[in-house]
Every structure is written in C-alpha cells, then in structure tokens.
Symmetry: C2
Subunit: 419 residues, 2 copies
C-alpha cells in the first residue's frame, strides 16, 4: 500500500467514528444504486484548531426544516430548475435518496471521492472540492406545479401524486410588465445551492446534476453572489442599496413560523416546509448609473449610504410611510401589510449586446408559507406602481413548494414520494 493510500485509510478509519452520520449516508449511497463502486468517501479533514473562518463552517443538514431558507446569509448561490423526463416514480425516489445522501455528505464537509480501487471506472466525485472546506454549504430542494400535473393545471397526474399537491402551488400570475423567457422560469424541481465559496457551491450543483442524468434534464442554471459588509453590514445589491433590511429576524422562531414555515392545512409532507418564489429580474445598470442620487433614493425611500428610511437615522429605524414617496419600492411593498423572507442574490451575465453595458440583475428568491396571501398581493402592488419598475424587468418566474427537512435515515421529500 502506498503512502498515499495509507493516509486515505487512516483518515477513513478515524473519521468513521467521528462522522457516524456521514458513514451512514455513504452506505446509503452504495445501497441506493450508484452501484459498482465501493461506498467510499472522503471525510473532511479534522480541523486542527477551531477556526472562525466562514469557510470552515458547517450548516447542519438534518432538522425540521431544510437548510438554506432561514440559514444566515451565504455569499454565493447556484440555482437550477430541472424537468423530470422519466415517467417512473421509482426513478424519482432513487434520485431523492441519492441527492439526500450526497447533500448530507457534502454539507458536512465530506466528498464522494477517496481511495478508488478500480481505476477503470469514472470517479464518483468530480473532485474539484476535495481540499475545500464546507463553507456553510446548503442545498434546498423544491417542487414546481408541473411535478404534480404535467402540462399545466388539470394536466396529467404523472406520478399519482396529484392529491398531495400543495394548496397554493401554481404558476405565478403574469404581471403586465413581465418579459418572461419560458426557459428562464418554471421547472418541475428546484435546487438551490448556497455557500460562502463559489467553487464549493458549483461542485455540489454539478454533482447533484450528474446524479440526475437519465431522470431529469436541466431547464436553467443561474448563479449569483451577494456580499455582506466587513463589519456585518447588510449586503448591498447592484443598485448599491442595502438589501434585506426589512426582513424579520430569522432567529425568531415564532416570527418564522408565522411568515415562513407551513404548520398545518397542507399535505403532511409540507409541514415544516415553505414556498419559494423565484424571479429573475434584469436591472438596467446603465440607466441607474446615470440617475441622480435623489432619484435613486426616492426609488426606495431610503438613504443610499446608510440605508436609513427617509426621516430616520439608522438603517434599522422603522419606516414611516408618510415620510417616503408613495411610489417608492419600500412604500409599495410595506403598504400591502404582508411579509415574506427575502434571500436574493445579484447576477452578472457578460455584456448586454443592446446597451453595451453589463447585463446584470437580481435572482430574487423569497420564502413564505402562503404565496397567495403573502407574495402574490405584493407582486401585484409592486407591478402596478413601484418606481423601481423603470429600472428593472422580470425575465424569469417560478414558484416551488419546498418540503420540510428530514432526520437521519429519511430522505428529502420521502413523505411526498412514499406512503
């Protein structure tokens, strides 16, 4: 045995004890059909010292809720929607089994790679994250309306799951100023991967997509970033404004229960779950950058540099509706009296050939327990009178139902797919 192999073995042995959960998951991978390859995996190297580096941190996988929803902000996202091409529910079940195992491994800082005995087989893991720390990696799965009913409402009950379709799961209503590209919206399954390092996030997304070959095809794949300030300041979006201020604290369980988490009144598998609204919104940077500071601030009703609402001093001071323009984004959103949990990222996509300026915008993502009562009214109000509309255009739109979390031995969406 070479030194190389020997070292792998040692890490393996020592860490199997430490990483019981990981080892369990690795066996599950072996058992659930990746076949042919030994259920090997490479656990995260044991950190020799406690590190405060964000890159070293692990977000727990198991729990009542999926991670990546009320998880503290992460800097990078890969967001994909997939369409199921298989008509066999068993394929979907084995995909979610494999996805669960892989997600559990990767988010705990392990990978599928390690000592590979048969060099004539492709590696299980693509390898580019082998030396990387988990970087707060999370993966969040959801189901679009088409997963339950193919080809629109009252369409085909493709997997016999129509009676388990969540109450509020339907395509978002079209807004008059939308300019939707069908291939940038919709989808049967959503996969949101977040991490504090792009390569870590990409690696997870790539290997999840790899596992889906033959069962799904990828409809779209986007990526984004959003950096918080060095002293914990709220991140700024590409209009230079702090984004997320109006969110309620994700640490307040009661608030999250009232805004985000489904508790009852939905099919059982949605308990502890939520709905994810997705909008890909182009932001016209070249028009924005030529607008006066006054116009920019009037658009939001907040001071650009501090983030404070007009008439107030600090970012976190309460918004006074009578002090901010009635058509400002914040006024219109707030006046609906509804609440959602926003978790957006900026995207950039080279040069817009039309303007010669950067093609960029927001991957708007929000979570809410009842999109019909929370998100849709807000969308309608904003669409009708938001001053921000002058500088933006929505090109992609989707709604997904995210199942609750799972505990050891279960897989994500098990209560939907089996029972």
């Amino acid at each position: 045995m070479s030194d190389e192999q020997n070292k792998d073995k040692q890490i393996h042995r020592r860490d199997v004890l430490k990483w019981g959960a990981v080892a369990g998951a690795a066996v599950a991978v072996g058992a659930s059909g990746l076949g042919g390859l030994a259920p090997l995996f490479k656990p995260a190297a044991t950190a020799s010292k406690q590190s405060e580096d964000k890159n070293e941190q692990i977000v727990p996988f198991y729990g009542k809720h999926q991670a990546g929803i009320t998880t503290a902000h992460q800097t990078y996202v890969y967001f994909a929607a997939l369409d199921v091409t298989s008509s066999d529910k068993a394929d979907v079940i084995s995909l979610f089994r494999n996805w669960t195992s892989l997600t559990q491994l990767l988010t705990s800082g392990a990978t599928l790679s390690g000592e590979q005995k048969n060099k004539y087989m492709p590696p299980q893991d693509t390898g580019e994250s082998q030396d990387l720390a988990p970087a707060n990696l999370t993966v969040t799965f959801g189901f679009g309306p088409g997963f339950f009913e193919k080809d629109g409402k009252d369409g085909k009950d493709r997997f016999g799951l129509k009676d388990k379709k969540p109450k509020h799961l339907a395509d978002l209503p079209a807004m008059p100023n939308d300019n939707l590209d069908k291939k940038q919206g919709g989808g049967d399954i959503s996969v949101q991967v977040c991490a504090d390092n792009e390569q870590t996030a990409f690696h997870a997304m790539r290997n999840l997509i790899k596992q889906s070959i033959g069962v799904c095809e990828v409809r779209y794949l986007n990526k984004g970033f959003l950096s918080g300030g060095k002293n914990g300041e709220t991140p700024r979006n590409l209009f230079g404004f702090k984004d997320g201020t109006g969110n309620q604290s994700t640490k307040d369980e009661n608030l999250m229960n009232s805004i985000v988490w489904v508790q009852s009144g939905e099919p059982d598998w949605m308990t502890g779950g939520t709905y994810m609204a997705y909008r890909k919104i182009k932001m016209f940077l070249e028009i924005w950058d030529r607008s006066s500071l006054k116009d920019q601030e009037d658009t939001f009703g907040r001071i650009k540099s501090s983030g404070a609402p007009f008439g107030q001093k600090k970012e976190t001071d309460p918004v006074k509706l009578n002090q901010i323009p009635a058509d400002s984004h914040v006024s219109v959103a707030k006046s609906t009296g509804r609440q959602i949990l926003r978790r957006a990222f900026s995207y950039t996509d080279g040069i817009d050939p039309k303007t010669g300026y950067v093609d960029a915008g927001l991957l708007f993502i929000s979570f809410q327990k009842d999109p019909d009562r929370q998100f849709v009214p807000m969308l309608k109000a904003l669409s009708a009178k938001d001053a921000l509309n002058e500088y933006t255009q929505t090109i992609g739109s989707a709604l997904f139902a995210c199942p609750g979390g799972c505990k050891k031995g279960e897989y994500i969406a098990q209560r939907l797919l089996e029972s």
Copy 2:
C-alpha cells in the same frame, strides 16, 4: 449637519492624513475631468484590529510591475476586453489617468463614494462595495495589437503609436482545432480584475467600464473562480486536478525576471511589463465525468487526488518524462523546454443546450516576456498532440502587452501614451 454627514466628515479628515496616497489620487480624479462633482471619496474604515482574513488584505498598487501578475493567487476574476471607439489619443490618455486613480483608490480599500453634496447628480461610485474590504483587489491593464494598428497588421496607425508597438504583439496563430468566436477573443485593451470576493471584483470592473463610456466599447466580459484548498493546497480546476503545480515560484525575483518581466529589447514602456496570453477554453465536463480515473490521470500524467506525477509521491516532486504518457498534457508542455507563468480561472456559463450539461471551462491566462519563444511553441505542441484536446475546445484567443507598473504621480501606460 446631520449625524450621518458628520460621521463622513470625520472619517474624511482623519483618513486624509493616513491615506495620503488615496487623497492624492482623489484629487487627480477631480482634476482629470470627472468634473462637476467634488473630489470626494470614502477611505476604507480603519481596521480596529489586525485581521488575517484574506478579505482584509491590500495588494500594493504602485511598483515596478503591475499587480495581478505575480500576485499570490486570488479566488475571483472579471476579465474584459475593450475596443477603443474614439480616434482621439487625448481621450485614451484621460481614460488611463482616470483608470489609474480609480484603481489606486479601490485597491487601497477606498471608494469614490462618500458624502455627496449635490443629490441631483448621479453618484460617482456605484456603491455596492461601500462596506466591503479590499479583498486583495488588483487590476491589470494590457494592449492588444489592434490598439496600435487598427484592422490588422500594417493597418492604420490610429494614435501615432505604431513605432512603440511591442516586438511580439500580434494575434496568436490559429490552431487547427480552435473553434474561435471572434467576439470572445481579441480586443484593443484588456482589463483583468482579481479579488478574493466576487462583489469586490465586479464593483471594480463595473466602475472601470463606466469610466470608459464614450471612449471604448466592451468586446467581452468574462468571470471566473478558482479556490485554493483550506490548508493552502494548490487550487483544482473543473477536471478535478490541481492547477498551477508546474509554475515557478513567483517569489523568486530572478526566475520571474527570466520568465515574466521584460527587461530590455522592447519599447521603453514595456520595461517591467509582460505579455498576457488569453484563451477561453471550453471543457467538456460531461465527457470527462464519464471517463475512467485511469484515462483522466493518463491525460495529465499526474495522480488526481495527490497531484503527484506518475512514479513520484508528492505533488511537488519533479516530473520524470519517461514515467508519464508521451501525449499527456504535462509531458507535451514540459517537453517544449519553455516556461510561462499560468494564472487560470474556471468559468461556468449555465447549461450547454447541445449536451444539457453544464457549460464550463477555463479562462486560461498566462504571462511571459516573449510569447514567440515561450507561449507559441507550447501552444503548437499542445495543439498537435495533447491528449487533453479530446476534452477541450478553445473558443476565444487574444494576446495583450501589459505595460510596467507606475509610481505615485504617474499613470499606467504613461510612457506609452506620452513622450
């Protein structure tokens, strides 16, 4: 004066003393035609404690050489090529003056923003990096052949600078297996922005592009990432192999003088400069991921997991040409006996409609003092017999001449543009 304004003023006063260089640059911005706006800027907040966080670090701007060439690896890149649309050399001079001031400000952790008196003017700075640390930000400028001679060799001497054209600056020769997209290669001016945070890098690129409006148009804009391991391991590319192992130490000045830095034999402005080769190379991930570990390792002549050359133990052990396949990438590159400094990044670009798999590859960037003797022979050898060609295809190609660095009071490329 509000608290808000007062606080800005204080930072301003205290930091003008501390940030002499920054203040100088800010004045230069005022003087060089951004006009109308007071030469205000917002210096980086004084760090209250020394931080080892990579995000907090500053790469010095002034020096014999431009930064971003032998600078230690940074995780994110934005890379743009611009074409000059103005025919007036004075425009180019004032662009490089402004670019130098802005680059000096941003790389030192300051921004152009701050207290803005006239709210009826657009902000000078787009604002999204206001709270971010410098994150080792660097900007590296270069000139393509078309900057000297418009419309190909022996073309128009557009700025009267033809006699200052570097000796080896010409389009790279076409390789038989290239599949070049003209709009993804070439360009009069290259701008490479690197940082350990994407938002910091994007902010710099966006504001540099903003300054170029009316003088240049953007030909292409790409972005990439490449993460080193958590214990300082060499970063891995999207084929899962360590990338950069064969590079000579950038800390060895003699080696860098022999490989990278022009010392003589070139127009004066190239002293301390270098040539940058750029290749946008698609990597066929879906074919790669289906290839056996053996095929993958044979392609490079190195062990995937450790990075060690065949027949050796450690990544850094010397390559023995008789132990690795003759058509392996490393064998072919090494057998040329030439050396270059590679500084590549991975890119991902959504889904490739042809394969349904991730569209991705390498933004290959290398620096060398004589592309004709160093880079081109390697390119030809690799193009003829590299086993890697089965898995890759070059879609963009360019060569740029990067001027030497500048000292306080000068601007980048001054010795080229004036004298």
